[in-house]
Amino acid sequence: MSTITLKDACKSWGSTQALTNINFKCENGKLLVLLGPSGCGKSTTLRLIAGLDTPTSGIVEIGGRDVSNLPPVKRNISMVFQNYALFPHLSVEENILFGLKARKVPKNEQKKRLENAADLLGLSNLLDRKPAQLSGGQRQRVALGRSIVAQVSVCLMDEPLSNLDAKLRQEMRQEIRALQQRLKMTMIYVTHDQVEAMTIADRIILMKDGVIEQHGTPEDLYNRPATAFTGSFIGNPPMNILTPDIEFMEEFSSMLPPGSTPSYLVGIRPENIVISKKSGLKSSVLAIEYLGADSLLQCQSGEQAITVTVKGKTEISKGDHLKLNWESKHIHLFDGKNGKRIIDSARGVTP
C-alpha cells in the first residue's frame, strides 16, 4: 500500500510561510494533481513528500509510515523533474539505469527492467544516444523510464510537461495517464496548467498562497467551486466573477438571496451566458476572439469585464451592445469578503 497522507504540514523559510496546514490524502493507485499559480506552494508540497525538503511542522506519511524525517531514498519513491534532470554525460541507457546502479540491483535484473521500460516507452533504438541528441519528447520519455525501472509504487512529477510544445504535451499527458493506470502507480503530479489537471487527474488539489483552496474531483472543481478563486482558475475560459452593481441588481436581484445582501460575488461561466433580445445585463463588446468551434466575446458592463462564449463564428462585431442573460441555476454565489461559496439553497427564483 502506498497511500500518501499529509497531516498539518507547514513549511517556512525564515519569516516566509510557504505552506500552512496542508492536509490531504492520496489513495493508493490514484493520480492526484497539485494545481495552482506559480508560487502557490505546490512544488514545495511535492518536495516535502519526496524528502528533498523537510516540513517545519506536521507529518508526511507514505503507506501509513511516518517518513517526515527520512531521506528521499528511504521513502521508496521515484521522481520526474521539470527539466528532466538527465545526466548529459551519460547515454539513455545509463541514465535510465542510474538509480538501479546506485542501488546495486543485480545486472540481469537491470537488463530486464531496462528492456521492459524501453519497450513501453518506445526508446529501444535510442539507448546509445546522449540526451543532447534527443528531442524534448524523447528526453521526457527517458525521464519517465528512469522512474519506471525503479519499480516503486509512488511516482512524483514536478511539472513534467512544461517544456514541451502544446501538441506533444497533449500526447504525453495521455501517455503518462495510461502508464500510471497500467502500472497502478500512486502518482502526485504538479502543474500550473488547469487543462492538464482536468484531463488526467482522479482528484485535484488547487492551491493558492500556501493553502489548499479546494480538494476534489475535476467535476467538483468545475461544477461546485468552493471559492471564487477556484472558479476563476478552473475552466477555459475561466468563470466570470462579477460584483453586483446597480445595473446588475436591476436585472438579477431575484437570483440573489432575498433580504439585506451584504456583499456577494457572482460567478457565471462564459458558456452559460446567453445573448438575449429582451432583457439582460447591458454590455458592449470590446473584442472578439475566434477559436474555430467557438468565439469568445470580451464584453464590458459598467466597470466589469465579462467573457462570453458563443458557438462558431459570430455575427456580432466589436462595439455592439448586447443584453447578457443566464439562468439562475448557472450562477455561483460567493461571499464578497472571503470568497467562499454560499450554499445553493439560499438562492432565489428564476426571472
Binding site: P71, V73, S78, M79, A85, F87, F98, G99, R103
Partner: protein, 273 residues
Amino acid sequence: MKFWKPGTGRAIETIGAWMLGGVWLLPVLFAFWSAFHPAQFSTSFELFAPLTMDNFVRAWSYAPFPRYLLNTFVLVTLILAAQFVLCTLAAYGFARFEFYGKNVVFALVLLQLMIMPEVLLVENYRTISILGLLDTIPAIGLPYMASAFGIFLLRQSFKTIPKELVEAAQVEGVSAVGILWKVYVPLARSTYIAYGLVSVSYHWNNFLWPLVITSSVNSRPLTVGLAIFGAPESGVDWSIITAATVMTMAPLLVAFILFQRQFVQSFMHSGIK
C-alpha cells in the same frame, strides 16, 4: 571623405595581432634555428646552412637532462594529482554545503589569489626546512597544492550544475561522495582539462621557487637545470643552450599543439575566455 572606412579598424587589429605574434615567436624561431645548426651559424642567418643534431647530443651528455626531465615529470604529475583532489573537495564544500563561516573561509581562499607566491619565498623555505623536506620533489610542489585558483574555478563550475541533477541523484539514494563523483566531476570535465593544462604548463616552467629549494641533481627540475647549464660562468655556447631549451620545452609544445583545440574549447566552456 571619412578617414575610418569600414574595415580599417579590423585591419589595424589584424596587423597588431600579427606583430604581437611575431614578437612572441621570434625567440622560439631563434632557438630552433640555433639548435639545429652548427655553432658558427647560431647568430648569422644563412638559408642553406647545414643542419645538425650534434648540439642535442652534446647538450644531452653535458648535463643530466634525462634526470631533470624525470624530476619535472614527477613534479608536475604530483602537483596536478594533489591539486585535483584538494581543489575538488574544497570546491564541493563551497559549492554545495552551508556551514558557519563559509563566506569568511572562502574570502580567505580568494585572498590567496592576490598574494604572489614569491613574496612567501623565505617563509616557505623555513616551513619546508622544518618539515625536513629540503631538496626533495615534494618540497617544490607543496606550496602549490592547495591552489586557490583551482578551488575558485571548480567552485564556479560546480555552481552551474543544475540542482535538479543533484536532487535526481539524491532521490536514487546516491551518497554525498557519490554525487560528487558521479555528477559533479563528470560534468565539470572541461574545467578539469583547462585547469590541468594551466597547472602543468605553469609548473613545468616554474623557476624561482625550485631554484631556491633544490640543491642537487636528484630534485632539480628542467628549468633549474637549464639555467645552471646556461650560466655565463660555464661559457656561453648558444647552440647547446638553445638545443637544451628546445628539449625542455618540446614535450609541452607538442602537447599543446596536439590539445590546442580542446584547450581553447575547454576555456570557452568554463567561461574564462
